[in-house]
């Protein structure tokens, strides 16, 4: 029925249907009077039949019957001889009006039933779409809050009902425009309202898990238009079931996640403990031993030996300091909400300062820095990024053969380097390189320790801190194989939008 399907007007219910019946009949009389000249008496009955069909299709049985009767009377009264009486003179006239009444009643009922079926089908379609949409949104909801939000929005859209949702044990309450009356709330809270109940214009539906009650959904029924019909109530029940399932799923996922985090934290903590005891004590043993040796036997030593012991004390002390710095940085990163106090600084300046600092510890390390011209400054936390660079450069120097150059190249890069380039810092060493299978893992905390090979004085923290710092700046770090052996550590950082011009204010 393409016509019916295309009808935009919903079925008219209530007194409006009867108004429509009277108006339709009156209109039919008017049209019949105007067209009587061209139409025969029998054809006029079709005008009235049309009116009955139109009214029936838009209303329901009552107005349809009323229209049929009104049209029958009007047809008789205004058009059948003798006019302006209900008396019918011709015998066949009686048959005509009797048949008209029968046909009008039948057609009216058929048309109104059809209209109601169409209406029901359309409602069913709408409800199915609403359920699908709800299911889609619940699937992507990652947290209980998102589940509740999706539930409320969908219930408002498809049921015209404000939803109030209380989930036991999470303290979450969906924020609806309305809150149920205090007395009802108390009953809900006391668990006496686990079954579907209706009160004060609110309809409560339980959120059931297989083994317990998860919570309660309260629907503030739309006022006026007669509440929810049976189909809408069925829709509400299925929606509530879907919501309960989604809640269970998010809880399960959250439980699994926190278990995984707990296991990871435990693993890190035990690694940290053994690392602290090892990495703090080893240099201390060197310091204490060398100092005692000097104290007890210094007078008998050759000058070269004394210098060597003194150098040991200094170097081990510096190593201890570096390790403590890493521990501090890692703690700061681990606290998550690390506020990045950003400042402008050139990548070349930061590298210069870092290399100066590094060469105090490693006077033999040699670096060659090549910077692409025309690069603007970065907007970063200079201390943290400096420490990250320090760790990368220190690593590169540590694994380089003695006297080999560590090459640092700073350049623009990125998938669309012409439009929005990233800043790329490549640090390339001539060391033994990292096996392909382990390149992704070198940034894990305590990686070098779990591998059992501690490098020369690796603590397994340096590169983990690098990754933490660089990711906090929105960048990335990766270990790549370098041409001709060795490793290339590639750091990319987002380039900030250019700042205002320095010379503004009239220089030069």
């Amino acid at each position: 029925m393409p016509d019916a399907a295309a009808m935009p007007m919903p079925a008219t219910s209530g007194p409006l249907g009867y108004v429509l019946a009277v108006a339709g009949s009156a209109l039919a009389v008017l049209v019949a009077a105007l067209t009587e000249r061209w139409l025969g008496l029998d054809d006029l009955s079709l005008v009235f039949m049309l009116a009955v069909l139109v009214v029936a299709a838009r209303t329901h049985t009552g107005p349809a019957v009323l229209t049929a009767v009104l049209c029958f009377l009007a047809y008789n009264f205004f058009f059948i001889e003798p006019r302006y009486t209900f008396y019918i003179s011709a015998r066949h006239g009686v048959a005509t009006v009797a048949l008209f009444l029968a046909a009008a009643l039948l057609a009216g009922r058929l048309a109104s039933r059809l209209a109601m079926q169409v209406q029901a089908l359309r409602a069913a379609g709408r409800h199915a779409a609403a359920r699908q949409e709800l299911a889609r949104r619940l699937t992507v909801a990652a947290s209980e809050e998102e589940v509740l939000q999706a539930a409320q929005e969908m219930m408002r859209d498809s049921l015209r009902a404000e939803a109030w949702i209380q989930v036991a044990g999470s303290g979450l309450e969906g924020q609806a425009g309305a809150v149920p009356p205090e007395a009802v709330l108390r009953q809900v809270a006391e668990g006496r309202r686990a079954e579907t109940v209706e009160e004060h214009g609110w309809w409560f539906l339980p959120l059931h898990a297989p083994d317990r009650l998860l919570g309660v959904v309260g629907l503030k029924l739309p006022s006026g238009a007669g509440g929810l019909d049976a189909a809408e109530r069925q829709l509400a029940r299925t929606m509530v079931d879907d919501i309960a399932q989604a809640l269970q799923r998010t809880r399960l996922v959250a439980a699994l996640q926190s278990e995984r985090v707990a296991a990871e934290t435990e693993r890190l903590r035990s690694a940290l403990l053994s690392s602290v005891s090892h990495d703090l004590r080893t240099p201390l043993a060197g310091v204490i031993g060398a100092a005692e040796a000097l104290e007890s036997y210094g007078a008998d030593m050759e000058a070269g030996d004394r210098r060597s012991l003194l150098a040991t004390i200094r170097e081990e002390g510096q190593r201890l300091d570096g390790y403590i710095q890493n521990l501090l940085d890692m703690t700061r990163l681990g606290q998550g909400g690390m506020a990045l106090r950003r400042d402008w600084i050139g990548a070349d300046e930061l590298l210069g300062a870092t290399i100066t600092r590094l060469q105090r510890h490693r006077p033999d390390a040699r670096f060659q820095v090549v910077v692409e011209p025309g690069l603007g400054p970065l907007r970063v936390n200079p201390a943290l990024l400096g420490q990250a660079l320090y760790n990368v450069l220190d690593n590169a120097a540590k694994f380089s053969p003695t006297g080999a150059l560590v090459e640092v190249r700073v350049h623009r890069a990125g998938p669309d380097a012409a439009v929005q380039p990233d800043l790329c810092i490549d640090v390339r060493d001539r060391g033994p390189g990292i096996p392909a299978a382990e390149r992704g893992r070198v940034f894990d905390a305590f990686y070098s320790m779990s591998r059992g090979d501690r490098g020369r004085d690796g603590t397994g923290l340096g590169l983990a801190i690098c990754r933490g710092v660089i990711e906090a700046h929105g960048g990335t770090i990766a270990a790549l194989p370098a041409d001709g052996g060795g490793t290339c550590m590639r750091i990319t950082l987002p380039m900030p939008a250019p700042g205002p011009d320095a010379e503004s204010g009239g220089a030069s």
Binding site: L328, D348, R360, V371, P377, A502, G505
Partner: protein, 240 residues
Amino acid sequence: MSAAANATDDRVPARILVVDDEPQIRRFLDISLRAQGHHVVSADSAQGALDALAAGSVDLAILDLGLPDRDGMAVLSELRQWSQVPVIVLTARDDEQEKVAALDAGANDYVTKPFGVQELMARVRALLRAQAQPADAAPPVYDDGCLRVDLARREVTLAGSPVVLSRKEYALLAALVRHAGRVITQPQLLREIWGPTHQQDTHYLRILVAKLRHKLGDDAAAPRWIATEPGVGLRFVAPR
């Protein structure tokens, strides 16, 4: 090292006050400074430090910011109300803000704990040298054989040929040279060159110092003259 050659300049004995609550730090500073020919006075608290400074005849103070009785920063600001004696503060590494705050409160330089004694001695020398120069003397000429900056004539030459600098570039270079060997904070430079309303605009400074380095042929990644102290400021590296 050229410091040895200039020993006559640098070894002018000075009275140096060391303020730290850690006896080990006091001891090694005491030994090292005396080895350089200086007289050392020690204090282990803020009150002791202020007493020693009030007694006068201290040429330079080395002040730890973490003192048991009072914040080192409070000592600094109280001291600056009546004395201009040069102060080097000892700070923890992590806190760039603290360094800048101390420098802005009147400290002349800082050293980050743990520090090498050579680094500290270089700071001490630079400050004592600046102190020896009377404030009303003619502006000095900096000349290391390659770069020559004549502050009186506002002339800059590089290997004998003049360098053309913009007004702000020259102002930056002059400020750095006047503080040769000592750090100047970013807010100080911004105030001096752009005025008090631009103290936060560190971006200006980055662009300007990049231009100045370029004209002097200096490399930020391996600075010969102008070194960046990340998050703190700039330092003109005077030859040792």
